[in-house]
């Protein structure tokens, strides 16, 4: 009796192991869906203008700190808006990283979008201006099911890329 009980417990234990090792299946996307990932880091403009130091002020500084421009470290927040077929799909305002707010702002967002042709439009304000955007790009993309499209800011070309 005891042996049978132990064998049954054993069988249940390993059946449990075998079952939940691979099942139930996890559904990540609906049929005919794709992912658009916004992912980039960008340093916004500095809050204040650099000041040119006079010769007197420069000489007053220790030799290793004599830089002709005195620039404030703090940067603006980054404003990003992303549209799919002219509808706002994501917007964010990101503070600069770092203790002195002088680092890059990082955007990371994954959006589930139905497969098919879509007009993707992204714009970004990195200068703190109240009106308008400093960068504005769009592309007509035909998303295939299960595609992972990445939208990122290409710093060398100073524009957004859709890949």
């Amino acid at each position: 009796m005891r042996l049978i009980g132990q064998l049954i417990s054993f069988a249940i234990f390993f059946a449990f192991v075998a079952l939940f090792s691979v099942a139930p299946e996890l559904r990540l996307l609906d049929d005919n869906e794709a992912i658009v990932s916004l992912s980039f880091s960008h340093a916004a403009n500095r809050v204040g203008e650099c000041k040119r130091l006079s010769q007197e002020k420069l000489l007053a500084l220790p030799p290793n700190m004599r830089k002709p421009d005195d620039c404030p470290r703090e940067r603006h927040s980054l404003q990003v808006e992303f549209f799919v077929d002219n509808e706002l799909a994501y917007e964010t305002t990101l503070a600069p990283s770092g203790m002195w707010n002088d680092g890059k702002s990082t955007v990371y967002q994954r959006l589930r979008i139905p497969a098919g042709p879509h007009l993707l439009h992204i714009r970004m304000n990195d200068s703190g201006t109240q009106q308008g955007y400093d960068f504005d790009d769009s592309a007509m993309i035909n998303l295939s099911p299960e595609q992972n499209l990445v939208v990122f800011f290409d710093a060398s070309e100073q524009r957004f890329q859709f890949r």
């Binding site: 234990f13 449990f16 996890l26 996307l29 869906e33 992912s39 990371y108």
Partner: protein
């Protein structure tokens, strides 16, 4: 059920040995990782494939044994007071095991690994200490380098296992005779079952990782990845909150509410001859043997560490001076429990046997059989642990003819104080000091936990049999 801890360690051994085989063939590169695992699974299925499956299933099984182990200790209330340390020290082990499992899946670099990489990164990115997003590295194949696999392999193969070994030591170091290996038959049966599972349902990879593709569905290992779907469903921050809350609950559970600490065992040097049996039998290493301090001719004496003592009384059961036959002095043994003394135990025996029952039962306070004994008005002495009863007490009951038979019941077949049942069995069968005296017929003492499936029904049967034997014995006399 009482081998869950050692079974977990046994699964770790299987994972280690099978993992060494996988390591021999594993290539730590973006292109090589998936191919080398596929080679093991497909081309070398007769050994590499089995090793991979053993690695997978042993890792899964140990999550299950850990969960059952935690549940069992919680249900038995063996995590409070002095046992808090072992309980709390188990939590880092759980975290390490999960991280080990997750990094292991990551190394396969299939679509599941891709999902794990992205979701783990999203989880880590939620910790506000990183300036850039780690998840951005898993959005295009160009961002992944071979060095990343070297790092993951280091974590999975060397870094985490070292901490795991240290963690296991920390988890058990306050226990005496920690059970590291399960019984041989259990090990053999487990290994056979794992082999059968590996042959019937071999572990396989999913499609090769391709970061340009977002898989629609995945077969995930729910033992390790059960919180991952929540990252997408809720947010990484909420998942962290959940994990931290569960961990905090586990850490503070021993004090919610705080357990009542009974007075610890007390040594009486006037009656202690330094025989060390109590130190030998203590399940918690709470008794230390030290040089004699009172000038008596004995070499040693013992001291009790109050931080480790759980007041189980097993030391009293091991003390040869804890004999109820004393006539000319008070019953003060060399070591005793102030709140549950040997003298009190003798009083309870005397009270329970005033009407000379056919069977006198001794039951652990954690025993489920107490309710039946009480309900049917059977003479019963309730103790913290049957290991607390020195064999001289059974001699006292039987040779003084206070009762004809003795029945002992434990905590459902598995001792709440680890060795109470085992030591008692060995003392009665004269395999462990202090032995039951030869003049006492061991057949007059029944141990319920040695009966198959010692449930209430069989206890009733056992009790009836003992009463019948006692009547027959009386009639013969």
């Amino acid at each position: 059920m009482h081998h869950l801890g050692s079974l977990t360690i046994f699964f770790c051994w299987i994972a280690l040995i099978s993992g060494i085989w996988l390591l021999i063939f594993f290539r730590t590169s973006v292109a090589g990782a998936f191919d080398s695992i596929e080679y093991l699974t497909q081309k070398q299925w007769y050994i590499g494939g089995i090793m991979r499956s053993l690695h997978r299933y042993s890792s899964d099984a140990l999550i299950l044994t850990i969960a059952l182990h935690i549940g069992r200790e919680f249900s038995r209330d063996t995590y409070r007071v002095t046992r808090w340390f072992t309980w709390v020290a188990g939590l880092p082990l759980v975290w390490m095991i999960f991280i080990l499992g997750i990094t292991g899946y990551w190394l396969v670099w299939d679509q599941l690994a891709q999902y794990i990489a992205l979701t783990s990164s999203e989880l880590l990115d939620a910790i506000p200490i990183f300036t850039s997003k780690m998840a951005a590295n898993f959005l295009s194949d160009a961002a992944i380098s071979d060095r990343f696999f070297t790092l993951m392999a280091f974590l999975h193969l060397i870094g985490l296992p070292i901490f795991l070994v240290f963690g296991i030591w920390l988890h058990v170091f306050r226990l005496s005779r920690p059970s590291i290996n399960p019984p041989t038959t259990l090990m053999a049966g487990t290994l056979l079952a794992m082999l059968a599972l590996s042959l019937l349902f071999p572990a396989v990879s999913q499609d090769r990782a391709d970061l340009a593709v977002a898989p629609q569905s995945l077969q995930i290992d729910w033992f390790y990845l059960h919180v991952y779907p929540l990252v997408q469903r809720w947010s990484p921050e909420w998942v962290w909150l959940l994990l931290v809350a569960i961990s905090a609950l586990i850490v503070f559970l021993p004090w919610l509410p705080p357990g009542k600490k009974a007075a610890v065992a007390k040594v009486d040097l006037d009656n202690c001859n330094g025989c060390q049996r109590c130190a030998e039998d203590c399940p918690y290493s709470a008794i230390q043997v030290v040089p004699r301090s009172d000038g008596k001719r004995y070499e040693h004496e013992v001291t009790v560490d109050p931080d480790l003592c759980t007041s189980c009384g097993i030391c009293v059961g091991a003390c040869p001076t804890a004999t109820p036959f004393r006539k000319h002095s008070d019953l003060i043994p060399g070591i005793d429990l102030p709140e549950n003394s040997a003298e009190h135990l003798r009083d309870m025996v005397d009270t329970a046997t005033t009407e000379r029952p056919l069977v006198l039962s001794f039951a652990c306070s954690g025993s489920s059989e107490i309710a039946w004994l009480t309900k049917h008005k059977k003479s019963c002495v309730e103790v913290a642990c049957v290991g607390q009863i020195p064999p001289a007490f059974f001699d006292y009951v039987l040779s003084r003819d206070l009762s004809d038979r003795v029945l002992l019941t434990g905590c459902g077949g598995s001792c709440r104080h680890r060795f109470g049942l085992e030591w008692t069995s060995q003392r009665i069968t004269r395999q462990r000091d202090p032995n039951l005296r030869l003049r006492v017929g061991a057949h007059r003492i029944a141990m319920a936990w040695e009966q198959p499936w010692s449930e209430q029904g069989s206890l009733q049967k056992l009790h009836s049999n003992l009463e019948r034997d006692a009547r027959e014995n009386t009639e013969c006399d």
